[in-house]
């Protein structure tokens, strides 16, 4: 079979070519200068049947170790093993959601538009701010966009970023800063594991960036961060964990101007890191600086409620080089998924995910720290995740525990100058973890640490 998804029969191709006054398919490419045309075709294997390709995928999959009963997951670091119920998978995979384009024609896109509106409504509440966009690529890029918003809004390029922000996100911020010209400064962590705002220079700034719970799992007191923002005239950007809003004060209510986050925990599978879901929320007063799409409610010609993408004048297709963001395609399907997952959870369910994760994490922490070989890394309160140190290097430990059937956690290998952190292990427990699993893990951990 030449091209399995091209419907045209040879006869039809001939007819169409005749209609166009052409002799062969090659004639279609007359305008491509002969000198650059590819001779001999692409150096790829010929097409294969669905069965053959799926066979090959099965082989490759067999060389992965997915999390599950054979590899119990205690890894986090920004990607969490939360429950995704059958109903969320079933709804989010409905082909009308999956195979639609960006809702450019609202009259035939009310399904996606309304789902986004509901997503925006729920996300804004979780963040404690007024406005949410329709999603960004992931948490890292949401942080970058927040930094852009802050510097544009304040006209100040100085950006102070807590060392407690996910080092991968900080690296991404640094990458993009080479284009945007932001002047990044890192604010160190104090001995308890939360940001030490005392040392920052008093000069004016555009953005102050902090994560809570932070990368080491510690819940930050946003008071000093807010004060620093006030003092420097900066926007306070908080990277939050939407699940934590099930039990913690929302960052918005604690003073954040912009709240960003990774939404993977809301119904998206671990998926080797993507596609995930960048959350972006801000105050109404910043709405015209919002990156990405925004869905608003309106009416149709017969005054029926209807939804539509709005304030489009912000976006790149209209503002072009004057746009403050270039985002076009985003992560709508994950946003729809998150809306479904949050609908499944409801008020009580979200609280329960957070609470059950906190219980599992506490139990795990106590179990690990009871081992003679482990040491705590931080002292501030944590929720779902925390760091421990062992004499064995974390990467070695992880390898050993894989053999025992556990994904033990994520070694803290980059982005921290603090030597206490070098090779410590970040461990997380979600509501899916049971006492039996944690007990078995702690036992294996002890054995592996020796």
């Amino acid at each position: 079979m030449t091209a399995p998804f091209v419907p045209h029969t040879d006869e039809e191709i001939s007819e169409m070519l005749a209609f166009l006054g052409l002799e062969s398919l090659d004639d279609l490419f007359e305008t491509v200068p002969a000198a650059i045309r590819l001779a001999g075709g692409l150096d790829l294997a010929p097409g294969a049947s669905e069965a053959d390709v799926l066979d090959r995928l099965d082989e490759l999959a067999a060389r992965n170790r997915p999390t599950g009963r054979h590899l119990v997951c205690f890894a986090g670091a920004g990607a969490y093993d939360h429950e995704i119920p059958a109903v969320v998978k079933a709804l989010a995979s409905r082909s009308e959601f999956v195979t639609a384009y960006t809702p450019y024609q609202p009259e035939v896109a009310q399904g996606v538009l309304q789902a986004i509106f509901e997503f925006q409504s729920m996300t804004a509440r979780l963040a404690g701010l007024e406005i949410s966009n329709a999603s960004l690529y992931d948490g890292a890029v949401a942080l970058v966009e927040a930094s852009n918003l802050a510097t544009v809004a304040t006209g100040n390029r100085r950006v102070l970023c807590s060392a407690g922000v996910n080092p991968r996100w900080r690296e991404t911020l640094a990458t993009f800063s080479k284009g945007s010209g932001h002047e990044l400064e890192t604010v160190p962590l104090g001995p308890d594991g939360t940001t030490d705002w005392s040392a920052i220079a008093a000069a004016p700034a555009g953005g102050i960036l902090v994560a809570s719970p932070n990368f080491l799992g510690c819940i930050e007191d946003l008071g000093p961060a807010r004060a620093a923002a006030d003092a420097s005239g900066a926007r306070l950007v908080v990277a939050f964990d939407p699940v934590s809003s099930g039990v913690l004060r929302t960052p918005g209510s604690a003073g954040a101007d912009v709240v960003v986050g990774e939404g993977q925990a809301l119904g998206t599978p671990l998926g080797f890191g993507g596609p995930y879901l960048g959350l972006f929320t801000c105050r109404l007063s910043d709405v015209r600086r919002l990156p990405g799409r925004l869905v608003g409610e309106t009416v149709d010609t017969e005054s029926r409620p209807a939804y539509v993408t709005t304030l489009r004048a912000r976006e790149q297709d209209i503002r072009r080089e004057h746009a403050s963001s270039n985002v076009c395609t985003n992560q709508t399907l994950m946003a729809v998924t998150a809306a479904i997952q949050l609908g499944w959870l409801g008020t009580a369910g979200l609280r329960e995910v957070a609470l059950r994760s906190a219980r599992a994490s506490r139990y795990l922490r106590e179990a690990l720290l009871a081992l003679p070989t482990t040491e705590p890394v931080t002292t501030a309160p944590t929720l779902r995740e925390f760091a421990v140190r062992t004499p064995a290097p974390a990467t070695t430990l992880v390898e050993r525990l894989v053999d025992a059937g556990f994904l033990a956690g994520v070694p803290v290998v980059e982005g921290f100058e603090d030597t206490r952190l070098e090779e410590s292990l970040l461990v997380a427990a979600t509501e899916r973890r049971t006492r039996a699993e944690i007990d078995a893990f702690a036992a294996a951990f002890e054995k592996a640490s020796r």
Partner: protein, 522 residues
């Protein structure tokens, strides 16, 4: 049991939502999930953990605790399902019919790609797993990178960018890093040239990467105005971004000359791969002289668009840029196993993890299914369909640049608008009534009343003919003497889940969350 007295009977109208199947039946609106909510109703359930049931008070200090819970909709699983299923009945999609949005390449997405992305052996892998747990994933990514290089004619690629625009920004940062390294650190080259027909993400990305946009015009044949280009070229030019075929659906015939001119002043050529579908297996950006190429896998490689994403925008580069690519990159180690490697002069990471991995998996699957011959056939039939539709519209719509097109054609409703008042937007809305999604309208900006039609290769000749017939019918109706046809088009669509939507009101009275709704409702 004895029922309550009659006068009390009507009294119970329970709060919260109704479960009704609105979409099948007329055009009744679907209430929001919030309106379906009833306090205390539940769907979620959790695994039995056997853990101590510490209270929140025992776990979190008061200062951090939420004074009261964030209110989310509370619905039964049944109503959750009904709500979102009904929403899908208010949504057009490729799986329902043709979606000829120009520049978007809304082709059919093989269901085996969905299946692939749902395999637990891929979907349940934690991104921070050690390489010993991800050999299958790494091999797949390395294979995909190689395939994309073969297809584009480049040396290496990063798979991190999660969409086309992210790819652009990545590519421009690579351009920046390259020049910085060559200019000894200072970015003397500050301008990037873009044709006036370019997609909006191009200029926006240029600004975000710290460059300035210089616009170059379009000549009468729809190509880059070469003289204009010559005029703006200088040694402060970092490079030029181009999509070829361009957004008019036309192949840039002078591409060799353009790349030569830009290279001559030391600039790099950036290829916006959104239109790559047209040239798969026919001609490669590398062979045209491009140095940096982004691909929109969610367009060309049939990874579905998800109502607005996710996508994937890998960036492939020529040899001289390889060392600057974002890292870590999946690589084959000398011993045949797979691992990660960060290029020496890497610009750094541009994604939290490794890119939109499950989207990359779909693209890998698509490439395998099609193979070398299949990909070329994709391009051929995509181009065939576009020319077919263009020729069937000849005489009805204006053809502003009347040349054979590649995978899409841009026609203009300008004369129709002048004669009848029926604008491109009205044509689009009327087409919805006839059962097709509309083409892209008012883009590219350089064409008045533009309709940008990209049938893609997965639509049959019958569908393409029907689409063209519908567009002709609309024009004919609009031109009807008595004006009823024009009025109908301007009032369209009448048979869709909602009628024409008031976009102005949405922007004037912003209601972007349920909490912004005025108390009386929208």
């Amino acid at each position: 049991m004895s029922p309550a007295p009659a006068h009390e009977q009507g009294s119970l109208t329970p709060a919260g939502g109704r479960a009704r199947s609105t979409p099948l039946m007329g055009r009744a609106p679907e209430p929001s999930l919030f309106e379906l909510s009833v306090k205390g109703r539940r769907s979620a359930s959790f695994r039995t953990s056997g853990l101590p049931d510490w209270t929140l008070e025992e776990l979190v200090p008061e200062a951090y605790r939420a004074p009261e819970p964030v209110e989310l909709p509370e619905v039964s699983e049944r109503d959750l399902v009904a709500h979102f299923t009904r929403l899908t009945h208010r949504q057009y999609s490729v799986d329902l019919g043709a979606y000829p949005l120009g520049s978007c390449t809304m082709k059919y997405n093989p269901k085996s790609c969905d299946l692939a992305a749902s395999l637990a052996g891929f979907a349940d892998v934690h991104p921070a797993s050690p390489p010993s747990c991800t050999q299958g994933w790494l091999e797949l990514l390395v294979e995909l990178e190689q395939s994309l290089c073969v297809i584009t004619g480049m040396a290496a690629a990063t798979l991190q960018p999660p969409a086309g625009a992210a790819g652009e920004l990545t590519g421009l940062l690579l351009m920046r890093a390259y020049h910085s390294a060559n200019d000894g650190g200072s970015p003397a080259r500050r301008r990037v040239i873009i044709p006036d027909s370019a997609h909006g993400t191009n200029p926006a990305s240029v600004t975000l990467s710290g460059f300035e946009v210089t616009t170059v015009g379009t000549n009468a044949r729809g190509g880059v105005d070469i003289d204009g280009l010559r005029r703006v070229l200088d040694t402060d030019v970092a490079g030029m971004m181009l999509t070829n075929p361009n957004t008019l659906g036309l192949f840039e015939e002078e591409i060799a000359e353009i790349t030569r001119l830009v290279h001559d002043v030391g600039g790099l050529m950036y290829y916006d791969g959104a239109n790559l579908n047209a040239i798969l297996g026919v001609v490669r950006p590398g062979d045209m002289g491009f140095d940096i190429v982004h691909l929109n896998l969610h367009k060309t490689f049939a990874t579905p668009h998800g109502g607005g994403g996710p996508g994937a925008g890998p960036v492939a580069v020529s040899e001289r840029l390889v060392d600057f690519l974002p890292g870590p990159r999946p690589v084959r180690r000398p011993d045949g196993s797979f691992g990660w490697h960060k290029p020496e002069h890497s610009i750094g990471r541009i994604h939290s993890w490794h890119g939109n991995a499950l989207v990359l998996l779909r693209a890998w699957t698509y490439v395998r299914l099609n193979g070398s011959d299949g990909l070329r056939r994709v391009a051929e039939t995509a181009v065939l369909n576009a020319n077919f539709v263009k020729e069937r519209l000849r005489g009805t719509y204006e053809l502003p640049y009347d040349r054979p097109v590649m995978h899409e054609c841009v026609v203009s409703a300008r004369s129709i608008a002048k004669e009848t008042g029926v604008r491109a937007l009205d044509v689009a809305k009327r087409l919805l009534e006839l059962g097709f999604h509309s083409p892209t309208v008012y883009f590219p900006h350089i064409v008045d009343e533009a309709l940008m039609i990209e049938p893609t290769e997965t639509e049959s000749p019958q569908t393409v003919a029907a689409l063209a017939d519908a567009l002709v019918q609309i024009a004919e109706e609009a031109r009807a003497e008595d004006g009823t046809g024009a009025a109908a088009a301007q009032g369209a669509p009448a048979t869709t889940p909602v009628g024409r939507v008031d976009e102005t009101r949405a922007a004037r009275h912003l209601i972007a969350t349920i909490d912004q709704r005025p108390p009386s409702g929208g």
